[in-house]
């Protein structure tokens, strides 16, 4: 299977190394606009390097592309690949507009191409176990969930990459909050409305560093709390807590804790009261590991879906488009004028300052 990797930043390099080790994959080309990185890779790996994406699509025979470029460029790149009949793995978010995402879904579906987005949390052992418990009805009727993500990404005002530019898909909402929101969409279904959204700035000049809001579902509600300027975390930490009529589930990347009431319908191996399952038992060893088993698992899933060995159900464009829609709803809600509980004081000019 001939695959091209487009975008050779931090994520792109890791994806390239990961997918190159999936059995049966040949990386036929890599593409980036940075001559330095292309030179390094050509010299050190002998990979075929390209600096022009469309020229690469026109000249290199491919089965699929992996798109790991800044978010703003996803839509045009994905569309060009779909129109050439290529399967696509695209990093999250799929696009920056729900209309664009819907359009890509339509083309991919019409052409019967495998399409997947890099929401890797769905491939983590613990978060998969949460889904399994919910599907088994272990906590009964779900009323509320809380999804959080914290990490040390932006810790000072500087920053010269696209991640700090809102128009290019930078910011905590699209870059960080997308993950817990995508998990909520997996666990709770379609979001019907959002409310009480706050996009707070801490260090960034052009984007938010903090996201807080409420999501409403057909059944139940959820709170989202995300902060990518949290130095107390060593790396990204995602947590989900879900309350139901017969129990409560908590999960992070390391463990799942289920508290089950006496009337809970429990899968085998679980009992009434507290249960803990660790990642060490929930995560099978990967074929090739770089930063987490989930990255290997998502590419193995993608490749086997292209081979037709399984339905391409997980993280398809349609499910990512739902997340894109929620992100847009949150952004719009945050821009609504707020009726302040306390009337804002008028600013007075004074030689003593404010």
């Amino acid at each position: 299977m001939r695959i091209a990797v487009v975008g050779l930043g931090k994520m792109g390099l890791a994806h390239l190394a990961q997918i190159r080790m999936v059995e049966g994959v040949e990386v036929a080309a890599v593409c980036d606009s940075a001559a330095f990185m292309l030179g390094l890779l050509r010299g050190q790996t002998g990979l075929h390097v390209c600096s022009d994406y469309r020229a690469m699509l026109d000249t290199v025979a491919l089965d699929a592309v992996v798109i790991v470029t800044p978010s703003k460029s996803h839509v045009a790149m994905a569309r060009a690949a779909l129109e050439r009949g290529l399967h696509i793995f695209c990093e999250k978010p799929l696009t920056l507009s729900p209309q664009d995402s819907a359009m890509l879904c339509e083309i991919a579906a019409a052409r019967g191409l495998v399409n997947q987005v890099g929401y890797h949390h769905r491939f983590m052992g613990t978060f998969r176990e949460v889904k399994r418990l919910l599907d088994a009805g272990a906590i009964g009727t779900v009323s509320h969930a809380s999804a959080e993500a914290y990490g040390p990404v932006v810790l000072r005002p500087a920053g010269g990459t696209w991640r700090s530019r809102r128009e290019e898909g930078g910011g905590c909402l699209y870059d960080y909050a997308a993950h817990p929101i995508n998990l909520l969409n997996w666990y709770m279904g379609r979001t019907t409305a959002v409310g009480g959204t706050a996009l707070n700035r801490i260090f960034s000049a052009d984007t938010e560093d903090e996201v807080h809001g409420t999501l409403f579902f057909e059944h139940g509600t959820a709170r989202v709390a995300v902060n990518w300027s949290d130095e107390s975390q060593r790396k990204m930490c995602t947590r989900v807590t879900i309350w139901g009529s017969t129990g409560r589930i908590y999960a992070d990347r390391q463990e799942v804790q289920l508290f089950a009431r006496s009337d809970a319908r429990l899968p085998q191996g679980y009992h009434v009261g507290w249960n803990t399952r660790y990642t060490t038992e929930l995560t099978p060893a990967a074929e090739f590991y770089i930063r987490g088993e989930e990255y290997a698992a998502q590419f193995e899933h993608f490749v086997s879906a292209i081979r037709g060995e399984r339905a391409a159900a997980e993280n398809d464009f349609a499910s990512a488009a739902e997340t894109d829609r929620v992100l847009a709803l949150l952004r719009a809600d945050a821009e609504e004028p707020r009726a302040a509980a306390v009337p804002a004081r008028r600013r007075r000019l004074s030689i003593f300052g404010r």
């Binding site: 010269g160 060490t280 074929e287």
Partner: protein, 296 residues
């Protein structure tokens, strides 16, 4: 190489099983004195080797060791580089090339600065790589570093990219510049060994997860068993307790039965736990007191 090597995950709030435990450890070890107290306890238990990432805090531990040469006469650092988060965060902030530039100048005078800057401008991989190794090693100047490890994130990234020549560069540089043994940490032992063999790196030191549960033994536990039997290399087992998923007695009993393992890396937060692990290893490897503390 010592039979027992003390690890540093517990000092930096790294626990693969529980965020709560990880945080408790991060709080407990936020003062350097707390870290040094445990290192001293290890030393008193006859564990002389300490493998550590090139985290900023390790520089202060190294300063302390340098300041007390008598007390730490038999103490050896086995540095593992780079501390990947440092680079990853810089790349997120500045982009790839600027981030690299940020680390290239370093300290050590005009000549080194020129070497770094010129290498970067020319895209000279050997120059960049050796420069970065030297920058990471600066904190250990004057201290004993018999083995210098390349961290698993970088080893496995290079392995996945197929940028194998980097291992040769690292190997040659560590031997010639530091008179040390190069070591490789990996989560992909069965993939790495044939690559090092092809590069002509004979009997490399390779540190990898080896535990009864098969936790993070990529390619599966059977592939690891075959690798241990078939390849010529000096194996260091880490994560032998699978982050606490396997009871100590069972974990050590199993790992000591595997063939061709030379050393075991383990972490502990108290002298009692260090003593327990040491006693278990001595019993299951049938070593006497002196042998545990002796390098092989």
């Amino acid at each position: 190489m010592e039979r027992l090597i003390f690890g540093d995950n517990q000092f930096f709030g790294i626990n693969h099983m529980s965020e709560e435990k990880a945080r408790a450890q991060a709080i407990r070890f936020q003062s350097d004195a707390a870290v040094i107290a445990v290192l001293d306890a290890a030393l008193e238990e006859g564990v002389h080797a300490f493998t550590c990432t090139t985290h900023d805090r390790i520089a202060r531990i190294a300063d302390h060791v340098r300041a007390h040469p008598e007390r730490y006469r038999d103490f050896h650092f086995y540095p593992g580089m780079p501390y990947a988060h440092k680079y990853a965060n810089a790349v997120t902030e500045d982009g790839m090339l600027s981030a690299l530039g940020r680390f290239m100048p370093g300290e050590g005078g005009v000549a080194r600065l020129m070497r770094g800057g010129l290498s970067l401008a020319r895209g000279d991989v050997e120059g960049i790589a050796t420069f970065l190794v030297d920058a990471e090693m600066a904190m250990f100047a004057g201290l004993s570093t018999p083995v210098i490890f390349l961290q698993n994130v970088l080893v496995d990234l290079l392995l996945g990219l197929g940028a194998h020549d980097a291992f040769r560069i690292f190997d040659a540089h560590v031997r010639t510049r530091y008179g040390a043994e190069p070591g490789y940490m990996t989560m992909n032992l069965p993939h790495l060994l044939p690559v090092l063999e092809r590069l002509g790196i004979d009997k490399p030191i390779v540190c990898s997860n080896i535990n009864k549960r098969g936790f993070r033994m990529s390619g599966g536990i059977e592939a690891y068993a075959r690798a241990l039997e078939r390849h010529r290399f000096r194996c260091v087992a880490m994560s032998v307790f699978a982050s606490g998923a396997i009871p100590p007695e069972e974990a050590i009993h199993w790992v000591c039965q595997q063939p061709n393992i030379e050393s075991i890396v383990f972490g502990a937060s108290s002298r009692a736990n260090i003593a327990t692990t040491r006693a278990l290893v001595a019993r299951h490897w049938a070593l006497d007191e002196a042998e545990v503390a002796t390098a092989v």
